[in-house]
């Protein structure tokens, strides 16, 4: 029982430090990623907004999430395979296309290329940036903007290839560019 604690100061303080530490580590890790990761801009393909008890969020779709079938042929019957996706920048800043999908990290990366880490699930790639939380009630408007084709995501990529959303751009202008803290 809790009465067994003769001097509760130390355990309670330890508890506070532990819980604060875990939450703090989550925040720190994410802020570091957003601050130091290389920024790329990916156009958003529309998907459905959904309500959850965690608040409104919109599901974001990306061209690079649906690669040509032959690139994912090796992973067709497997689920949740960790892969590295090499993408190359095309004629415009936001025209990224997939060069290769491999389980080994590519060793040669050109200046206009970048490696992202993802999970291959049958025919789809999941990068961990498919979810954007919006203030209550603003989901549908964002979905319309995505449908009109002008929405893009500012994504930070860290040196392990992991991606995180930094903000959203509409028509080339930042609309949601959140402060890190």
């Amino acid at each position: 029982m809790i009465e067994l604690l003769k001097r509760p100061v130390a355990p309670v303080v330890a508890t506070a430090i532990l819980l604060t530490g875990i939450l703090g580590a989550m925040v720190y890790e994410r802020v570091q990623h957003l601050r130091t990761g290389r920024e790329i801009v990916l156009p958003i393909r529309p998907v459905d907004p959904r309500d959850l008890f965690k608040g409104d969020y919109v599901r974001l779709g990306f061209d690079i999430a649906n690669p040509k079938p032959e690139l994912l042929a090796a992973y067709n019957s497997r689920r949740d395979v960790p892969v590295f996706v090499l993408i190359e920048q095309g004629s415009t800043d936001t025209a990224w296309t997939i060069t290769s999908v491999t389980e080994q990290r590519p060793t040669t990366v050109a200046a206009n290329q970048i490696v992202l880490s993802a999970k291959a699930n049958y025919r789809v790639l999941q990068f961990g940036i498919e979810r954007y939380y919006v203030p209550e009630g603003t989901g549908p408007k964002l979905e319309d903007q995505a449908r009109s084709g002008k929405l893009a995501a500012i994504v930070a990529v860290n040196n392990k290839g992991k991606t995180a959303i930094k903000g959203l751009m509409l028509d080339g202008k930042k609309i949601y560019d959140e402060p890190l803290l």
Partner: protein, 377 residues
């Protein structure tokens, strides 16, 4: 406690007037019960409800995703609430109010969970949802162990069970082409063990039941994980595990009771596990019905045998479990049919006559043992 006391008062008055105890005895008994302390005070119940409400307040706050406050401010609210609740818990502890302190610490772990969700939302983290629940459970079990708080340990167990179910139901595990043995969610066990260590430290008997329920459901679920629910091997293993527990209780019951008084509970949980395995084998694996008759007979015989043992060891819960198993087994046989409806009718008639004969035999045995005299036995 209040009900027990009022019943005790009535009994004491009756015994005293019958001359079996003296007024001195009465006051001594009363004083002893008083000293034992209260069970659940109303304040504890209310405090727990308050903790639940606070938990929901936090969840709604997170869900609102209130942009008017900066990320830092929203985080600050979470941290401040957490520290305030921990501080309140400490203050209650040193004022000798341990139950209320438990409620405060419980609320603090709820806010911790809210904090995880807030951070995931603020930074648009789209990870593997079970991981968030796992992390929440991890923090909670650590708090429960450090503070020796039973409600917190119970909450941690619930979180790990939920996490386990999320992992078991996840597409990759259920549909993936992995071996049967690896489909079972073995990772649940170390976390169950951590909570078990905490409950063992505090010697909380109800907690032992929670642990048993959690482990039993994991065993039964694992039987379904193997072969996606349709495996002879999987359900047979569950059946055998259950039988081992029942056997341990019957054969080594006294020895076990000398260590800890759990042979009765061992029988009960063993029965439930065995029956779950038997039910799955009879009605899910045996689709053709080729084995319905003998499997059904064995199942019913097993239930009757356990019922008899339960009666002999005066294990009331076991008898109720046996009744429940009997009802489920009979109804399932009825639904599945023993061949044809006529066949089913014959089956039930035959077994009914056999059990009636057993009842008569039991009656004669009882008669021959207790001579009918005027003294109540």
């Amino acid at each position: 406690m209040v009900r027990y006391r009022s019943r005790l008062e009535a009994d004491l008055a009756r015994w005293q007037s019958a001359g079996w105890i003296t007024p001195a005895h009465t006051s001594a008994i009363r004083a002893d019960v008083q000293a034992r302390g209260a069970g659940f005070g109303l304040s504890t119940v209310l405090a727990t409800l308050a903790a639940v409400l606070i938990g929901f307040a936090v969840m709604s706050f997170v869900a609102a995703n209130w942009q008017a406050m900066s990320k830092f401010a929203r985080l600050a609210v979470i941290f401040a609430s957490m520290w305030a609740l921990l501080g309140t818990g400490y203050a209650l502890l040193i004022r000798q109010m341990p139950r209320l302190a438990d409620a405060a610490f419980f609320a603090a772990t709820a806010v911790f969970g809210g904090g995880i969700m807030l951070i995931a939302q603020m930074y648009h983290m789209d990870g593997h949802p079970p991981d968030a629940v796992w992390l929440w459970g991890l923090g909670t079990v650590a708090v429960g162990l450090v503070l020796r708080s039973n409600p917190v340990l119970a909450a941690a167990l619930v979180l790990f069970v939920v996490w386990s179910w999320m992992e078991m139901m996840s597409g990759a595990r259920w549909f993936g082409t992995v071996s049967d043995a690896s489909r079972v969610h073995w990772s649940f066990l170390p976390y169950w063990a951590a909570v078990a260590a905490g409950i063992a430290m505090t010697r909380w008997r109800s907690g032992l039941h929670l642990l048993a329920i959690a482990l039993a459901q994991w065993i039964i679920a694992s039987g379904f994980m193997i072969g996606r629910g349709d495996s002879l091997g999987g359900h047979s293993t569950v059946l055998i595990v259950g039988l081992l527990l029942v056997a341990a209780s019957i054969l080594a019951g006294e020895m076990i009771d000398r260590w800890r008084q759990i042979s009765g509970a061992l029988l009960n949980y063993g029965m439930i596990i065995t029956f779950a395995g038997a039910l799955a084998l009879q009605f899910i694996v045996d689709k053709s019905g080729a084995h319905t008759v003998w499997a059904g007979l064995i199942a019913l015989a097993g239930i009757l045998g356990t019922l008899t043992w339960a009666w002999r060891t005066d294990n009331r819960p076991a008898m109720w479990i046996a009744y429940a198993c009997f009802a489920v087994e009979v109804f399932s046989l009825y639904l599945k049919k023993v061949g044809t409806l006529l066949g089913t009718s014959g089956f039930f008639l035959a077994t009914g006559l056999i059990v009636a004969a057993l009842a008569y035999a039991a009656y004669r045995l009882h008669e021959s043992r207790t001579p009918v005299t005027g003294v109540a036995s």
